[in-house]
Structure formats: C-alpha cells, structure tokens
C-alpha cells in the first residue's frame, strides 16, 4: 500500500515493542512490519519529544516561521503606517485619519463593494465549476487526454492578465470583437449578441484566466481521495449523487474551501479585468479606486492603503471561516495509516464524450483568447481571426521583441527569480501550515491569516514597503536580485499557504504519531513522510507561484536595479510606451513558451515521483503479507 510504504516502512525504530503495542492499539496495519524492518537505536517517545524541542529541526522550524513572519511584517507595517499617517505625496507625515475620510466618505464605496462582491463570488463559483470539471476528468476518470489537459490547464496562467483581458476584448467587444462579428454575419443581427463590457463578461474573462488555480487546488486532493470510501457508500446502498454529496464533497471540503477562498480573494483584489473591461463598462470595483489612488503622480499610498485595509479585513474573516469549516481536520484526512489505493472511475462508453466536453471547455476558455493573441502577434495593427485583413503577415513583432534591449536578460532574471521564489515559498509554507495545523490547532488560524495577509496588499505597496525597509536596514539587498526575491516570496506566501494547508489537512496525523512512537525525529517526519505525501500538492503550488512570479509587476516596478529587469516591467513598458497590438500579443505568446517546457518537465518529475512511490510501496506491501503470515 502506497501510504504504508512511504510512512512506516521508512522509519528507524527506537522501541520496537512499544511501537508494536501502540500499533496494535491503534489498529494501524503494517506498523509492526515496518518496525520489524527497522534496525535502529532504542529510546522512549516521551523523552524524545522533550529532547526534540531542543533539536536542530525545531530550531529550523521556528526560524522558518520567524522568517515568514518577517516577510509579512514589512509590507503589513507599511500598509498600516501609510493608512494612518498624512499622505504628503512624498511619504507619510503626521498621524491622521484623513485617508479613511477620503476613501470612505462617499456612498459610492458601497456600490464598489457590492460590485466587488458580485465579481469575486461570480468568479470563484465559475472558476470552481470549470476547474472542478477538469480536475474530475483528469484525476478521477479514465477519460483520454489527461496529460494534455493537465498541461493546457496551466497555459492560460502564463499569459499576463492585461493581455488576457485584451484578448477577450478582441473576441467579444461589441464594436471590434471577431466572435461577435461572425455571429452578426451568420445570423444577420444588427447588434452584437455578446458584450464583454459587462459583469458577466468580467467574470468570464477572469474565470478563464484563473480556472487552472481551481484545478491545481482540487486536482491533488482528488488524486489522493481513497476510492474505497466512495465504494463503501455505494455498497451501503447510496446512490451516486448521495455518495457525491455525503462522501466525496465533504472529504474534499478543505481543498474546495481553500480553492474557493483563494479565488474569492483573488477576485476581490484583481485589477487587470476591472481596468480594461470594467472601467469602460462603468463597473467600478474596489480595486479600481485603489489603483486610481496609486497611479496618481505622486501616488496616494495613504488612500490606497486605507482602502486595502478593507480587503485585508475580508481576507482575515474569510480565513477564519475557512478554518472553522475545516476545524475537525481528521474528518478530511484521506491519507491515513490504513492505506489507500488511488483508482480511476471507468467511464466506459462515456470516455470520449467526457474528453470531448473537457476539450470544448479548453477550446473556449483558453483556445479563443490564445488563438486571438497568436493571430494578432503576426500583424502589426488590429487584425482579427476570420475577419479578413489587408495587412501583411509579418514576423516583425517577434523580431522586435527578441531584439528589444534587455528582453532576453529579463527573461533569464525572471525565470531564475521565479524558480527561487517558488522553492522558498513552498518550503516556508509547508512548515508554517504544519505548525498552524498540528501544533496550535486552536489558534493556528491566526498564523494562517498572517501568512494570507499579503494577498490583500497591493503589489506596489508591498514593493514600496520593502524598498523603504531595506534602504533603512543594514541588509545590502538594494538594487540586487535579492530584494526582488524577498518581494516575490512575500507576495506569494498566501498561495503557498493555501496549497500546503489543504494538503496537510488531508494527511491524518496518525502517520506522524506512528513515526514519533517509532522514534523518528521531526526532520525525518518532514523529510520521509510528509514531503513524499505532499509532493503533488507542493508541486502544484510550486508551479502556481512560479508562473505568478514570472509575470509579477506591482512590486518589481519599485525594486528593479542594475541588470535586474524582469519580464513584468517589460510587459508594462510595452503596454504603456510604444509597442503595437502585435508586439504586446507576441509578448504574451512568448511568455507561454517557457511555461510549456517547465510544465512538461515538472509533469515528468511528478510521474517519476509517483512511480517511485509505487515502487517503494510494493515491497512494503510484500513485507506486510509476510508479517501477517507470521
């Protein structure tokens, strides 16, 4: 059995008899076998626990938490300092509530908040449905094309938000949208049938961009869901929908709520779609006002911070309710000492229809905007698919980009930074989530909420806060790649935390208790039990943070220094200062290419890890059979 193999069999035993007795009491199969396989020093769990507090592993653990808290503290203090001091335009002044008066004195703020809620909830639900369907088909069924869908799900992510929104305008604008043009011609309509400049248009544009997140969040949970629990439901006479609603969905609750929470907050803090689609439609949301304050010259950080505090409050409340809804962590653990066997539902004749449905979903959500961008990238000015154009086909946009000063250096810097940020975020949040869930079950939500706060702080405020802090502190990171790395880790801690938190929720603590009884040190528990079991979730989180880091902009604009230009700042330059539609489209297309390579490599790694896990599990299962025959 997979779990048994990874868990107990790899542990060195300290007290074989004690472990065997404990295992018998707990009914943990295979532990005795595992202990029989272990040859190690003997000791007592109680004393090892006491001694454990003084060990290096605990020191590392505390250090990780402190480092993460420091990362959060810097922008958070900048946010509060800006919000509660006079905004002089060139830095904070004396204590003042003026920013709050300016930010909240109009009834319009309620309309903004209402729009934001509708937009965020609509996006979270739509994204969840899209991502859920893909997750189910890829992870739980034998529908063909799973590997392809897995890779495609991540592609839309690589396209910068501004360009994705631009692509949807080219598809569904009532004036120039090519899909509308085709429908008008086909059906003889006088008016465009669809209008992207609307609330449904905004929700769709953002959902099509973010649904990979729902997939990344739900996919690993579905992958490790023990199908025998569902089978037990069926054997007990439950209908399919009853099994779904009473067993499957409740078991997935941490992953579902974690994903929904993230998507909701992302919807609340999203800026690109409201900027390009919402503003022309006069559908202003909360972030529209924040951004309006930020783009003033000089920026009104005080007002922006006062507004952002509401976002922060929403995030903290959301985390609190998430933790309440998942407080009985053991109930959601699908990875236990009893082992599990991931199996797929056999769809039979429905294999191809299901695959076709998912393919259609991708064709619409990803294919339409991506095709539009690719098409546009071969023309200088507006040239839309199927609409005819006299303009010549050209590779000039790509030549322009590749010859653009600093472009290749920026690609290199961005990829390097993103890989480092993703690795650090995954590691830190892995530790933090464990601490929050295992060592402080009652107040762990506070740690969770703290790690989540950067999501509510606009990137530019994070960047400005970090710049201030590290100009004052004697830490020589100013104008280096390291200050960007600090910013990226800070910005993406919330995402890593959500992945790690929902992943650990699914691992029953009995596995760690087994290890502890068997004499494993904390480091070994992390390295040999939790890490292998959490690998799919951590890998998903790594990919997500990597992609976000590659196109990060808000903080980077304050922190780029000699030789540290990044892709995000070049995208902004293209958008703001020169560069035709063709050039900005080509930039979006080019950003997809490294992601394809990276996603393919990681998929290979993931499969490699899975196969290795299964190979490890096989001897354990064999050993178990031997044990039971003794």
């Amino acid at each position: 059995m997979y779990c048994r193999g990874l868990g107990a069999s790899l542990l060195p035993a300290r007290n074989r008899t004690q472990a065997r007795e404990w295992a018998a009491l707990q009914g943990v199969e295979g532990l005795s076998v595992a202990n029989d396989r272990m040859n190690g020093r003997f000791g007592f769990a109680a004393t090892s626990r006491l001694a454990g507090y003084l060990k290096l592993s605990n020191f590392v653990l505390v250090t990780c938490v402190m480092v993460a808290l420091w990362f959060v503290f810097v922008p958070l203090s900048a946010l509060f300092y800006n919000a509660f001091t006079e905004d002089t335009g060139f830095g904070p002044g004396a204590f003042s509530l003026e920013n709050f008066i300016e930010a909240y004195s109009s009834w319009q703020i309620l309309a903004l908040f209402r729009n934001s809620l509708v937009f965020a909830l609509g996006t979270a639900l739509t994204t969840f449905v899209l991502g859920g369907l893909v997750s189910w088909a890829v992870e739980r069924t034998d529908a063909p094309g799973a590997a392809l869908f897995h890779s495609l799900a991540l592609l839309s992510f690589a396209i910068p938000g501004l360009l994705m929104a631009m692509a949807w305008i080219f598809v569904f604008s009532p004036n120039i949208g090519w899909a509308n043009g085709l429908m008008k011609n086909a059906f003889g309509l006088a008016q465009a049938p669809l209008n992207v400049y609307s609330m449904p248009g905004m929700i769709w544009a953002l959902s099509s961009h973010y649904f990979p997140l729902a997939y990344l969040s739900l996919g690993p949970a579905l992958r490790v869901l023990d199908v025998r629990m569902e089978e037990a439901g069926h054997v007990s006479g439950g209908r399919t929908w009853q099994v779904l609603t009473k067993i499957t969905l409740p078991l997935l609750r941490p992953a579902i709520l974690s994903g929904m929470l993230l998507l909701f907050v992302l919807g609340m803090s999203s800026y690109e779609v409201p900027r390009l689609i919402g503003r022309p439609a006069r559908i202003d949301v909360f972030t529209t006002d924040i951004q309006s304050a930020i783009i003033q010259t000089p920026p009104e950080f005080g007002v922006a911070s006062a507004l952002a505090l509401t976002l922060l409050l929403v995030c903290i409340v959301a985390v609190f309710f998430y933790r309440r809804a998942t407080r009985h962590a053991e109930a959601f653990a699908t990875i236990t000492g009893k082992g599990y066997m991931p199996t797929r539902i056999k769809l039979g004749v429905w294999r191809w229809p299901v695959a076709s449905g998912i393919g259609l979903l991708f064709a619409v959500a990803l294919g339409l905007p991506l095709m539009t961008l690719v098409w546009q990238s071969f023309y200088r000015n507006l040239a839309l698919p199927f609409m005819g154009s006299d303009a010549p086909f050209t590779l000039d946009n790509y030549k322009f980009l590749l010859s653009y000063p600093i472009f290749l250096a920026a690609v290199k810097t961005s990829v390097l930074l993103a890989a480092m940020a993703a690795t650090i975020v995954s590691g830190l949040t892995f530790v933090m989530a464990w601490v929050a869930l295992r060592t402080m079950p009652r107040f762990g939500w506070i740690l969770d909420a703290i790690a989540f706060t950067p999501i509510a702080i606009p990137g530019v405020i994070v960047g400005a806060g970090i710049l201030v802090a590290y100009l004052m502190l004697p830490i020589p990171v100013y104008n280096t790649i390291w200050i960007l790395l600090i910013a990226y880790v800070t910005l993406y801690l919330p995402y890593g935390m959500r992945f790690a938190s929902s992943g650990i929720s699914q691992i029953h603590r009995e596995l760690e208790e087994v290890a502890e009884v068997a004499g494993a040190r904390l480091g070994q528990v992390f390295w040999r039990i939790l890490l292998p079991l959490l690998a799919p979730v951590l890998l998903a989180g790594w990919i997500y943070v990597f992609v976000l880091s590659v196109r990060e902009l808000g903080a980077s604009i304050f922190l780029v220094g000699p030789g540290t230009h990044v892709l995000g700042t070049i995208t902004l330059t293209m958008w703001e200062e020169g560069g035709s539609y063709g050039a900005v489209s080509a930039l979006g297309v080019i950003q997809v290419i490294p992601l394809i390579v990276i996603v393919a490599s990681l998929r290979w790694l993931e499969l490699h890890v899975q196969r290795r896990g299964e190979a490890t599990a096989a001897p354990a299962a064999g050993a178990e059979r031997i044990a039971s025959s003794e």
Partner: protein
Amino acid sequence: MTVFRKSTVWAPAAGLLGLALLGLAPAHGQDAPAVHPWLDPALLAAAKGEGSLIVYSSTNEQEGLPLFKIFEEATGIKVEYIRNADSPLMSRVAIEYRANQRAWDLFHTTTVNKLPPPMLTQFEVPEVKNIAPEARDPDKRWYGVYANYNSPAYNTQKVKASDLPRTYEEFSQHKEWAGKVAIDATDNVWLKAMLDYYGEQKGTQIVKDIVAGLQPVLTDGHLAMARAVGAGEYAVALNQFVNLSENVKIAGSPIEVFALDPVALFFGQVGISALAPHPNAAKLAANFMLSQECQQFLAKFGRIPTRHDVASNPPGIVELMQQKKVLTTLLTPDEERKWQRNFDALFKPR
C-alpha cells in the same frame, strides 16, 4: 536598469574633439550630425572624472537605450538606465531621498516639475537658450525635452473629417457618438485647460453636456486609448497626447488628430538630483538632451521637439497646434489632486 558596457569609445576628449573638428567623428545613425556641439569641453572633463551616470526615465528602452548610447559613445561615460512609469518613479525617488540615498543623477519624465524643489538641483547648461521659453523652469530645476500637446483624435474609418466638431461645445451635439467617445481617466490637465480657457462656469457646463450627451468611456492609459481609437473600438478620443496619436498613425492605423481650443501643453522634462552622485555627468547629459542631436533622434519616434530648429515628425504638427490657443499647464502635486477630484466629479458622477 541597463548598464552600457564600454564598447569602443574611451577615447580621450582631445582626440574626440580633434576628430570632430575634422568632421570625422563616429556617426551614430543616419541623421546624426558629424559633430556634437553639446559636448562642452569643461563639462566633459569634469564629467569624465565621475565616470558614470544613472538615469531614471519613463521613456521606453527602445528609445532610451539607443539615445544614451549616443551619449556614451560621445563621452565615454557609462550610463545606467532605469525605465519605469512616472508614478512609481516619483515614489521611488521620494523614498530614496528620505533615506538619503544617492541613487540617481538624471530624471527624465513628464512629472519632474512635480518633485519637491529640494530634491532637484538648480542648473543651467548652454543648450537651454535654444529651447522654447515656456519649456524652461523659471526656478531652473527642470527643462522641457519634448512637448506633449493635448488634442482630440478620431478614427478616419468611423468619422468623416467634415463631421468633426469645430469647438468642444459642438461635441455634445454628436449624439451618434454616444458610448463611442473615450477619454483617459486621468486627464486632469485637459480639464484645467478647458476651465482656464472657457471660464469655470462655462467650461464646467460644456464638460457636463459632453458627459450627459456622449457618456464618454473612461480608459486607462493614453497609448492604450490611442490604439483603441486606431482599431475602431472608439470613434473619437475627446483628448489625447498628440505624439501618441501620431505614433499609432505612423504604425498604419486610421487615426488622425484635430485641434480645438484650448490645446493643453506640458513637457517631457529633465532634472538633476540634489543628491546626484555624478552631478557633472548629469549636467552634460541634460545639455545633450536639450541639443539638436538628441531632439532629432527623439523626433523619429514621434516626440515633438521643444527646439525650433528641429522639425516635428510628421511635419506641421506643431503648426497645427499653434493655430489654436495653447495653454501650458503644469500642475503641482496638490493641484493635480484637486483637478483629478474635479475630473472624477464630472466624469464619474456619484
């Protein structure tokens, strides 16, 4: 930021001047003059002693890097170039100033005049006398490198030239443009010029009529709006930076500017940090930016020169604007906040 690596030119100043006198100075482009009149010998000597120059600019790298490569090749001074949008650059220099960080030498954006005076050094260089008087700060802390005229633009496939309004008052009569007129959500300079020209009461009423009759779409970013007008997403831009309309037109889009009273004008400016680590190199670079050579280079990208001896691209655009009442409109940060509030109140009635 980009560091120009030394390529071939660490030539001694005397040698370079000698070559220049012989008309053999290295050419930096087809239109580059054979000599560099801006290369003041005294400044050059002092600047070379400092060795390098740090530029903060909102001009894209495609223009900015080749431009300063000319400077680097002519002087042998290494240039580090950081490009960013106006707004974050303003914040960045403020943060660095408060930390007493000697981070930059030259500041080149449209917002130099909005920096607090103590952050900028007072200076005067020889080329100042050749730029338009309105492009010179009386306090000598900044000078205009290129002109940003504000004027409407239209899509020539959506609107006939004969249908264009002749005044802003006539705009609101074009009900057929309702929802197809765009304006950038930060065009507070244009609003101030309107109210200065028409008077507060009449100007406000004209804008209110336009908002009520045409329901202008508020956009984010002037270049994005210029592209959208060129693409036909909007028929008319109520206000636009002329150089951006021209930029999109040069790229082949059916967009054309037209001039109405008033034409608001501000500048892409250059200023020098009071904490400049390389003050002489900064002065030499400022002299270069006000020179004929630099402005000819920028005109290739549609930037409108502040010198009378440099032709605009396309020719005649300055003359077109000058036929109307041009109001130089430079706002302080406080004024800008006030006028942005006025703009929001008129265009986003709550």
